[in-house]
Amino acid sequence: MPNMLAVCINGKECEVEFGTTILEAARKMNIHIPTLCYHDDLCLSGICRICLVEVDGEKTLQAACSAPITRPLHIRTHTEKVRKARRNILELMLSNHYGECYTCFRNQNCELQKLAKEYGVDSLRFGHVELPRHTKDTSSRSIIRDMDKCILCRRCVRTCHDFQGVGALEAAFRGIDTEIQTFLDHPLGDAVCINCGQCINRCPTGALRERDRSDEVWNAIDDPQKIVVMQTAPAPRASIGEEFGLPPGTSITRKLNTALKMVGFDYVFDTNFAADLTIMEEGTELLTRLKDFIVDKKPVSLPMITSCSPGWVKYCEHYYPDYLPHLSTCKSPQQMFGSLIKTYFAQKIKVDPKNIMVVSLMPCVAKKYESDRPEMSASGFKDVDYALTSRELAQMIKETGIRVTDLEDSDFDSPLGLGSGAGLIFGATGGVMEAAIRTVYEIITGEEVPFENLNVIPVRGMDGIKEAEISFQKTKEDWKFLEGKTLRVAIAHGTANAKKIMDKVASGEAQWHFIEIMACPGGCLGGGGQPIPTNENIRKARAKAIYDEDSHLNIRKSHSNPQIQMLYNEFLDHPNSKKAHKLLHTTYTRRGKI
């Protein structure tokens, strides 16, 4: 029995465990205390001081978010002292904040704005900032920093440092001069930033956002010469509803198809198709590496590590450049898809690829950087012209007045519109691994994976690092060298966890064969381009939506996708063919740590 303490908040009594914070206790009792520097995902900081409450016996007000309860307490959350302090603190913040709500992308989804309204700020007694004092940092392909709107809550700093293990952002200078800066104040585009966008998702204000490409996409749609092709990734479909007021975990895939057509996209395809293709290519690559290693005793880079998360790829380029040969050479599904549109599909519809624009709907802001990488144009054309986040696309749809939630369902277009359940679960951490196992196991043994309903449970869930093993019996003729062998796999999400895995790989402590790494917590469904806010419950709800959808699909294994089979027959010959290598694989760049 843990040590329980009696707590009384605003006259309501409750028992809490020793060490519970005042905020946690209040939430348990359904008493709302405002917060700002606090975020469910992050370590405590206690710096904004908006969550102050009055505790009997304490001379000063206590920050509820970070004050642990270690004795029985009487707490009051809205005394005159507290109200005055909150007002003062909010006005102080606003007095040093430059921004106009109606031009701000966080308008109506801004924690600062909301607090100002809820806590009755009706004047700015300490004045306000009349002119911008910072130039926007637009150097990054993915992220725009507008420090005029920053209120120094440091959620981005903690996200980047603790959650992502990157540390691109830090507090510089002191006192009133304090600023959030990159190392040596380099432009973000030149800093060690992996473009994951997790900082955006946790910023309470409009100080951080993605580079908005919706105007360019509108221009393409408006241009009668251009065929504009949209591909939608699985994770945004399970989340974009949140932008339209639906609860987290409501998948609106087929309504979205209808909306996208109404917006003006000529074709709407499914990135899951390319995810299936990735499994074919990456699975084959893995088996080849294993064969080279076991049979031919060639020096190969094992474990092989997934490469579909561009944030992770850049992390690896900066922090583990010696391990780049371990990355699968496969492009991400987004890029594979774009490459095929500009070649295979262009030939099919007999249109000059220069008149085709590929736009993707992604959960991710690193996808913007990825699509702009110079090596991503093997066909002679840029694979993907514009990668939009869930937030940008939601904004575009809002601009049309279309009520997505009221629309009829419609299917994806052919022939790149069919994705298996395996492709779908790419959106969740462990999904690529599960999809790969479903296919690889069957290639090797001729049988389905020995898990009920194909659900490879050990690789699912929100643990930061997951491990699993699967052994091969009754292997087919070509794969006898794997008979009785055990495939050891690991999965990490959030680059802070990736670091832990990589350090084990580097020290030789762990003997994995295949590792899935996603830069974002929860995998793509927790991506930096997803609707704000985010927390573990929201991410779990999105994951559930994705796994539910998978379990209801007829085709749940990548290699069983008939359109994939057709693609190999008509165009690519076989996985890892020469043509496949040219169009679907890529190379990486060693980068420094500064």
Binding site: I89, L152, G175
Partner: protein
């Protein structure tokens, strides 16, 4: 009339005797002696030293640390410097006794960066103590071991705040942590840590030699012993004085031959500014918290200017973490400047007063909680002078 001058720290002490006495006691006996002496920390807050040690003693951990706070950053304060320079062995002996009492083998002295020139003096004192078996392994032939490292500070005032000091020791940006947990529970590297001021440690060997009852005889009931003060400003005889706790402001002024005094800032920039009406109050934790310094201003001084200097100091020294201090110090200074220019309305002065009250109760650490002290005490105690400038107008601010 001279102030009551009672010498403790400035009286001779046989090196090692206090430690020897300590080793004759059990750990809890020492803690009880310190508690009984009612020694309170000399770093500013006046926390009971025996209680602090008891908390660290009771914390279960494989390692504990004793940290001596020698960051002395309060403007006008240089009493610790004198102790470091001339009485280093007393400090180290006090630290060793603390180590024995709480069960720690490692001491760290966090030395203000500007005092780096004192390092050789400290190193030499440590060496000599080691040679005399008063530091190191098998201290005085017992099984107790304790040694001391010197760590140079990071050069910011806030690093004197104990949790910011610990952050700085760990190589991070010197910023205050959330409390609780207090350092006695989780301090340096997460281990229980006693942080005491230089001066606090110095009293310890005396108390062990002479006894708690002897120490209690000095000072007031709530503030026992004596205290060092750096006295500066409009006085004939500035310097560091050891005075009994409870000495009044007026006695101090007489002692240092101040004349025509208008105001006295007690406790450095974070302290309060008292006017003539309070000169008979005693310097003691229960009345005028004594801090380490006393700055005297005579009638020729412009109190608004005095205030401006203090507020500039805080704007400069705020670590910038928490909103009330980061933004509030800036707004208070801005307000003072408005007053200087006659642009501050009575209404806005009230707004600033309320802000100052908010900062006191809402800032994360002592710096922001005390930064409004000079503002409030000067505005309140010298209201007449400030309003009479006829530059405080009723025009709308900003």
């Amino acid at each position: 009339m001279a102030g009551k001058r009672k010498q403790i720290l400035f009286s001779a002490l046989e090196p090692g005797l206090g430690l020897k006495k300590a080793l004759e006691h059990t750990q809890t006996e020492i803690i009880d002696i310190i508690k009984l002496s009612r020694l309170r920390g000399r770093g500013g807050a006046g926390f009971p030293t025996g209680l602090k040690w008891d908390l660290a003693y009771s914390a279960k951990a494989p390692k504990k640390f004793i940290v001596c706070n020698a960051d002395e950053g309060e403007p006008g304060t240089f009493k610790d410097r004198i102790l470091l320079n001339e009485h280093a062995k007393k400090i180290f002996e006090g630290m060793a006794i603390a180590g024995y009492a709480v069960g720690s083998q490692e001491g760290i002295i966090y030395l203000r960066a500007e005092y780096r020139y004192l390092r050789p003096v400290l190193v030499q004192a440590i060496d000599e103590l080691r040679k005399a078996h008063l530091l190191g392994k098998k201290i005085l032939g017992s099984d107790f071991q304790f040694d001391i490292d010197i760590h140079l500070g990071a050069g910011a005032y806030v690093c004197g705040e104990e949790t910011a000091l610990i952050e700085s020791l760990e190589g991070k940006r010197g910023e205050a942590r959330n409390k609780p947990p207090y350092p006695t529970e989780s301090g340096y590297m997460g281990y229980p840590t006693v942080v005491n001021n230089v001066e606090t440690f110095c009293y310890v060997p005396y108390i062990l030699i002479e006894g708690a009852a002897w120490f209690q005889k000095f000072g007031t009931f709530e503030s026992t012993g004596s205290k060092l003060f750096s006295i500066s400003g409009d006085v004939k005889k500035p310097g560091v004085y050891e005075l009994e706790m409870g000495t009044t402001v007026r006695q101090v002024l007489n002692l240092v031959e101040a004349s025509d005094t208008k105001a006295v800032q007690v406790g450095g920039a974070s302290g309060i500014c008292v006017a003539e009406k309070d000169f008979d109050k005693p310097l003691a934790f229960e009345s005028l918290p004594p801090g380490g310094s006393i700055i005297v201003f005579n009638r020729s001084r412009d109190m608004l200017n005095v205030l401006k200097n203090f507020m500039e100091f805080f704007v400069e020294e705020s670590c910038g973490q928490c909103t009330p201090c980061r933004e509030g110090t800036f707004r208070l200074l801005e307000g003072v400047k408005l007053m200087e220019q006659g642009q501050c309305s009575i209404h806005y002065l009230r707004v600033l007063r309320e802000l100052a009250e908010t900062m006191k109760i809402s800032s994360k650490c002592g710096l922001g909680q005390m930064a409004p002290n000079p503002f409030l005490s000067i505005i309140d105690n010298f209201k007449g002078e400030i309003l009479a400038r006829d530059r405080v107008t009723d025009s709308i601010p900003l």
